[in-house]
Amino acid sequence: MESFGYTVLIPVILFFSFIFIGLAGGKMNKYLSGIIGTVSLLTVTVLSYYTAYSYFFVYGKAGGVYQKIIPFQTEWLRFSEKLYIEMGVLLDPISVMMLVVISTVSLMVHIYSIGYMKEDMGYERFFSFLSLFTFSMTGLVIATNIFQTYVFWELVGVSSYLLIGHYYDRPSAVAASKKAFIVTRFADLGFLIGILILSNITGTFDFKILTDPDGSAITQGSSVAFMGLSVMTWALILVFMGCAGKSAMFPLHIWLPDAMEGPTPVSALIHAATMVVAGVYLVARLFPLYALSAPVALHLVGYVGAFTSLFAAAIACTQTDIKRILAFSTISQIGFMMLGLGVSGYGGENGLGFMASMFHLFNHAMFKALLFLCAGSIIHAVHNNDMNFTGGLRKFMPVTHITFLIACLAIAGIPPFSGFFSKDEILVAAFEHDKFLSVVMFAVAGLTAFYMFRLYFTVFWNKDTQYQKTPHESPKVMAYPLMFLAAASALTGFIPFGNYVTADGSAVETPFHWNVAVPAVAVSFAGILLAMKLYKKESDMPAKISSSLGELYKIVYKKFYIDEIYIFVTKNIIFKYISVPVAWFDRKVVDNTMNGIAALTNFVSVKIKSFQSGQLQQYAYVMVSGMIVLILIALYFMKTF
């Protein structure tokens, strides 16, 4: 049995890379820091691949089932005998898969950034934060207990904050980073309370105990507690709230489109491929609990996923900012994954949704990172985010064009590209589980194809825009990652995922359903054709359609006014109706009470002070009359006694 002890090096290398670049980055040649970051990431990638190889093909299986292996664990903080946080490495199919995803995408992004960020002032800072992010993300996926997840969950949140705010002298970037952090933090509050409840009912943080399908954790906390749901259900719903925040599920999705203010490689890494799927990953990690102990919570996951997916896809059709379209597409695709989990059962044939969801996560990471990196190339070339200012770029940027097309085909679910396989399996799982949801998802698939190709045609075909500077293909250091990811997007669909990544560790049959696949592909083609008709040539059709839709179009274009609602809640309610009154109350009421006490004392002493007038006769008068009064009192009492 291989010990896998080296896996601990993965986060450790990244951590030291972060510290080293962060502390020494300013003092050395700025490109050196990029090289150091990339090299350390390369090491990590090699380690991850090796781990994946030895886990999946050599040592991971015992009795036909992939085991959970903990090669390293150390106590970090102890609460009590039973409750303690350990820092460790947990290897199981999903964590190993995530390691591969993270290291691959991160490596590509690192290489890409060497070119992309060349001119940037904060070059060292950027690379040190990339290392920090990758460290946190790997730490998150290899967590052995839910608290370790939470620790790294927060760290990814903060590295996301730092990277979104990379251009910190732009107020919009600062606002976006702030928004991202606070929204996810709010979700994390739910996560934290969920952890607290979970730890309280099961008495442990440990994933191994929590997710043991035969263990006691599953059956605990099933008593009805609140509003007709069991404690466990509530705990899991709260945990899902955290996931929804990280993964930008409705209604906590609002931060993700704004997060596009960050540098494009960051969007590719964090806000498309890795961090945003952390929510999916966590639900998958706790899947036995969801599936066996709280099916209600799992349904909620499915419905939220489906709704978000449709909702985001609709918005994506109306946006014009390249990166925002991709952001909404990301939200939509994550909705897909959530749905996949939501319609899955635990183990056996029922576990198809889980496996499909993970598969889609894997594929999505590749093609979405590719899309973003392509978008980065485009922006790099034309210095504009708005697709209305682009067009006809296929002549100038052949590599970007081809790779972008591959990614679009992949996301649209056209065979044989990777998206087809995973999306198809999710649709199959949904079809078997819940007809209504599967109809919704068919619609989403069509919309996806439409908006992606709308983007594709507008950017690369359409009108021949006159550019101030002729756009040029990106340098090689940026082009190679594109090619690599394009290859991955094209090919990863053929991986027999069901053999490797499943809910219970044993292989799942992945039947091919013609009755699902054919309509799905048809819908996608329909979307592509529609987009081609509307956008391949410059025309006024899209404008006509949008104006004929009128208010509906406007509502969708305004993203259903969710942002406005949030701004209303935060600005008006929290700021104006809570904080300002609290501050006022503090100054005026509490503080004035204290000052009032002081003033009262002062007032009384001023009054008393005037007794001390220095007037001799006043003293004498008081003395005489006091004496008389005393005598009278004495007389009175002498008579009574």
Partner: protein, 105 residues
Amino acid sequence: MIEGIGLEYFLILSTIVFFTGIYGFLTRKNLITILMSTELILNAVNINFVAFNKYLYPEKLEGQFFALFVIAIAATEVAVAIAIIISLYRRLKTIDVEKANEMKY
């Protein structure tokens, strides 16, 4: 011992004088008149001493002696008080008791 005049007569007399003195003490503004009021008070006390001596304990002389001492003390008191008044006058150019309130607060 005066025939037909009881102790009460003396006491009433001294009481009235005593309180007249106090009245003066409380109302007069000039320090010297205040001083004079105290003299009145002391005198009332003297009358009391003497009367008690004569009427209640004629075999002793304590009342008389104390009256003597009171007179002596009154003399010293006046001497010191007048010294104070004069130096006060030098400093404040007035001997109005209400204006001599530097000890206020």
